[in-house]
């Protein structure tokens, strides 16, 4: 189902969305950044401009999350209380790279042992995509087979044209939402078929470079023992800025917290594979003791291991790692080197 929304009606449309559920969208914060935040005033929403540095992943997989609370009894047994959240939420303005990321995260947490915390939130979330017209110079979504208008994972996809917003409803969840919103939307004529392709063409022309990784998908492990890793890991300071801003990083650490002698909780927080202690065995042995091994792990996980596990690249080309790297390590030049090594071997 495809509809048109008049430019003038956008505010009313957003207000309607806000009535349905908690609305999360990019808003300008006091510190002057744009961030996905629960919206207080729809006027604060800024849909255009570059993609926020923090991805909306945190609304499905928060940086810190309580798994359960417990109350200790005298014999050491405890009564547990699960803390699942399933308040309905609508996330608006998600770029295709982040839509892919959310789809990956959901897929990852659905395999074998299902992670109810993420899945429960996902079930109660409506994802509204936004065709990307403002790529940054760090963006490389075309390299990993995505496109700036791809709607995979979205319930509703929106795109801006000069005279109207295109609203494409893709899932039942999306349809249910749209049906609750009275007549703000108009029918979309046949000619609107061209809207997304033309945005795609225009945006792709603005993306700095395309490294065709799809052609070497599944074969990237042959770069494992290459010398390229060392040239980047020398520079790398092994902080976690790239992983903490990455929309597909799923690793976490869990720990217990006692608030009183009897009550406490187990929580989980994001963890980063770049940290030395991440793989440290109880015995003191560390399989990834060097920064080289850790940097390689991160990159290989994105392009090889996740392909082995789920058949998907877990990099969506959003470029946040490059954006947040304090020592200017550029993911595009890493994948360029990888492709070179896989295709032509080490020089």
């Amino acid at each position: 189902m495809r509809k048109r929304l008049k430019i003038n009606n956008l505010q009313a449309f957003l207000q309607e969305l806000q009535k349905q559920a908690t609305l999360i969208a990019p808003v300008k914060t006091d510190a002057g950044e744009r961030e996905f935040r629960p919206v207080e005033q729809v006027a604060d929403i800024v849909l255009e401009g570059s993609n926020p540095l923090r991805s909306p992943k945190e609304y499905l997989f928060p940086q810190m999350e309580t798994l359960y609370t417990f109350h200790l009894q005298k014999d050491g047994k405890a009564t547990l209380k699960e803390t699942l959240h399933n308040e309905p939420q609508i996330i608006l303005g998600i770029r295709p790279c982040d839509l892919h990321a959310i789809a990956y995260v959901k897929e990852f947490y659905s395999t074998t042992h299902q992670d109810v915390y993420v899945l429960e939130k996902w079930k109660h979330t409506i994802l509204i995509g936004w065709a990307c017209q403002n790529p940054l110079n760090t963006c490389f979504c075309t390299s990993v087979g995505n496109s700036p208008v791809d709607s995979k994972g979205a319930d509703i996809m929106m795109a801006k044209t000069d005279s109207f917003y295109l609203v494409e409803v893709l899932t039942v969840k999306g349809k249910d939402l749209i049906e609750k919103i009275p007549s703000l939307l108009e029918d979309s004529p046949e000619a609107d078929n061209e809207v997304l392709p033309s945005i795609q063409k225009q945006t792709e022309s603005m993306i700095r470079e395309k490294v065709d990784l799809l052609s070497i998908k599944g074969r990237i492990d042959s770069a494992y023992s290459s010398s390229i890793w060392k040239s980047y890991s020398d520079v790398c300071i092994a902080c976690g800025a790239c992983t903490f801003n990455c929309p597909t990083c799923t690793c976490f650490d869990s720990a217990d917290l006692l608030e009183t002698c009897q009550d406490g909780c187990r929580y989980r927080t994001w963890d980063t594979c770049q940290n030395y202690a991440f793989t440290l065995h109880a015995s003191g042995h560390n399989p990834r003791a060097t920064r080289e091994a850790r940097l390689r792990q991160r990159v290989m996980h994105k392009y090889q291991y996740s392909v082995e596990q789920l058949g998907l690249f877990s990099c969506t080309g959003c470029g946040r790692c490059t954006r947040s790297c304090p020592v200017n390590i550029d993911m595009v030049s890493i994948i360029k080197d990888i492709k070179e090594v896989v295709d032509h071997g080490e020089e």
Partner: protein
């Protein structure tokens, strides 16, 4: 999508532990204790495979993955043997009979016992590595008629650190079973083997493995070798085995990567395309060769 205020809950949350009471506690060595716990009825494992592990927790302290030494399918008890290494295990060591332990599991793939039927089993264990192998031993004695011979090769740092002393005495008395122990350095009053456990799979060593070398016609394809120990130890065992061209699909190794969640989600144990807690911890040597050397 209604805004409902009902507190949600899920019956199928893999992160929630259940509680089991401790039936028996025993001291194995100065730093190792064993704990026998009664499983509550609703938490009997559907199937337990030797080599699997449970996540043991104490609320407020934390969680640690611990291999199962034995699951008794009749009494529904689990036996754990725990070395004091960190915060959680130290706290577990303070528990007494009647206290409760939080448990999640069983996790991991375990040893493919079905494929061992009719074969001789050689167990090589370094130190606390004997713990998961004991579940194999118990399974072997329960169904001894289905397997060939059993040989246990065990290396401890010193004679004080030998675990399952009493049990090993019993095992030795059983038919078709041999048991060899070695300690790292010579000691007063020790007249057994001295040296690393990898010696026992070295042909040139005088008291080396019976099954592998001393049988009249050692048929390698009729023997499986299960190795559990620290990475340094199993690497040298594998080196020794490669010199005698032992088939790599008949050797199984247990990896001990750092684990947190036990269900392949937290990413700590990620090694190549595998999550050790979920796809392992048991890998055949053949699989191990395809894995990145990050264990």
């Amino acid at each position: 999508m209604e805004k409902n205020k009902k507190i949600p809950s899920s019956t199928n949350n893999p992160y929630l532990p259940f509680f089991a009471s401790i039936r028996e506690v025993g001291q194995q060595t100065s730093t190792v204790k064993h704990f026998l716990v009664d499983l509550p009825k609703e938490n009997y494992p559907e199937k337990f495979i030797p080599g699997q592990f449970y996540q043991l927790s104490i609320p407020g302290v934390g969680e640690a993955p611990i291999s199962v030494s034995d699951y008794d399918p009749i009494n529904h008890t689990l036996l754990f043997c725990i070395a004091k290494t960190g915060v959680v295990t130290s706290q577990i060591h303070t528990l007494q009979k009647g206290d409760y332990l939080g448990l999640r599991g069983p996790f991991g793939n375990g040893f493919p016992m079905d494929t061992f039927r009719g074969k001789n089993i050689v167990l090589v264990a370094g130190g606390i590595g004997l713990v998961p192998l004991r579940s194999v031993v118990e399974d072997y004695f329960r169904n001894q008629d289905q397997y060939g011979e059993l040989e246990i090769l065990f290396g401890a740092r010193n004679s004080q650190e030998i675990i399952y002393r009493e049990e090993m005495k019993q095992w030795r008395l059983k038919k078709k079973t041999t048991c060899k122990i070695t300690i790292d350095k010579p000691e007063k009053g020790w007249d057994g083997n001295v040296g690393f456990v990898c010696n026992l799979v070295d042909k040139s060593y005088c008291d080396c493995s019976e099954v592998l070398f001393h049988h009249t016609s050692p048929d390698q394809t009729n023997t499986v070798i299960l190795v559990v120990g620290p990475p340094v130890m199993f690497q040298s065992i594998l080196n020794n085995l490669s010199t005698i061209h032992f088939p790599d699909d008949l050797v199984y190794v247990s990896l001990e990567n750092h684990m947190k969640c036990g269900i392949g989600k937290c990413g700590h144990c990620n090694c190549g395309g595998k999550y050790v807690c979920q796809d392992g911890p048991i890998f055949s040597w053949k699989e191990l060769k395809t894995l990145e050397k990050e264990y």
